[in-house]
């Protein structure tokens, strides 16, 4: 990745690069942090911590490369390694089960399980219900949905942010979407949006 190259910026250039390449993403960073922590104060701390790290390690960022992906990677790592440890034990996800998903019989079962979620029911859901369904996912699944569906990162960018192969990005995303649909189905049913 480009951040492995070390560039010695002058002090004035550090500030210029920081303001031009990183600050434009403050909205996206704050919203990403909020969706991970689900708390406004924690989100502020996490974003501040991320920007401080970005400034300290700015020499490993190559100007003109993907600053947004670079920041997202720092924030995700800060959340997983530092921040979440302070608040609670990380949610464990069994990746061995997920990685072979495309070849497993379970894939077919999952498709059937979400079959009765109707498109009209999804369109009737309000923002809070969608946000709650997203927050109900284990954090590793929540992250791939946020990166792909909300932030619009490519699989390649996600692979770099998460430090996993593209095949793993796809299988994790596949599993996350099935779990999200299951949760949305419960909301739709509770709110009377479905016939079942």
């Amino acid at each position: 990745m480009s951040e492995e190259l070390n560039i010695e910026y002058l002090e004035k250039d550090k500030h210029r690069v920081f303001n031009e390449e990183f600050m434009p993403y403050i909205d996206a960073m704050y919203n990403f942090a909020f969706r991970l922590t689900t708390d406004e104060d924690d989100a502020k701390d996490l974003v501040q911590d991320t920007y401080m790290k970005a400034f300290r390690f700015i020499n490993s960022f190559q100007k003109g490369t993907n600053g947004k992906a670079w920041l997202f990677r720092i924030l995700k790592n800060s959340f997983i390694n530092d921040f979440r440890k302070k608040s609670k034990e990380p949610n464990k996800v069994d990746y061995q089960e997920i990685e072979g998903f495309y070849n497993s019989e379970d894939a077919d079962v999952d498709v059937v399980a979400t079959h009765d979620l109707r498109t009209e029911s999804v369109r009737d859901l309000i923002g809070d219900e969608v946000a709650n369904a997203l927050n109900a996912l284990a954090v590793d699944f929540r992250i791939v949905i946020i990166l792909c569906d909300i932030e619009g990162f490519t699989y390649e960018e996600m692979a770099k942010i998460l430090d996993i192969p593209i095949g793993t990005v796809r299988s994790r995303l596949h599993r996350a979407r099935i779990l999200l649909k299951d949760t949305l189905k419960v909301y739709a049913k509770t709110m009377g949006y479905t016939q079942k």
Binding site: Y30, Y51, A107, D108, T119, V122, V130, C148, D149
Partner: protein
């Protein structure tokens, strides 16, 4: 995508279509995987064309396509975008100034 990757993709599509005739379950998995590639803007032109041809003939996959598109849309449009707190940018800049 590189030309060699595209050729491999075409070979994979042909192979999968041939296999799916005798294995409907594999066909369903392949369709869902391809649907996600299209939805995420990651499919090749060939994959998109093949999938759209298949959609015309397959009602369950058409339904699934509509559902997945709706889920992606509500994620993009319905979830509230939070405004950055006023003091956050100022705090970051003040801390950066102290780093020098």
């Amino acid at each position: 995508m590189k030309t060699s990757d595209k050729s491999k993709n075409i070979e994979n599509i042909v192979e999968t279509i041939e296999n799916s005739a005798s294995n409907p379950s594999k066909d369903k998995d392949y369709c869902l995987a391809t649907l996600y590639l299209i939805l995420d803007g990651e499919a090749t032109d060939e994959q998109t064309m093949q999938f759209k041809l298949h959609l015309c003939e397959c009602f369950p996959n058409f339904n699934n396509y509509c559902l997945e598109t709706a889920v992606k849309e509500v994620l993009q449009k319905r979830i509230e975008k939070k405004c950055v707190p006023n003091d956050l940018v100022a705090n970051i800049k003040a801390k950066i100034a102290l780093e020098i």
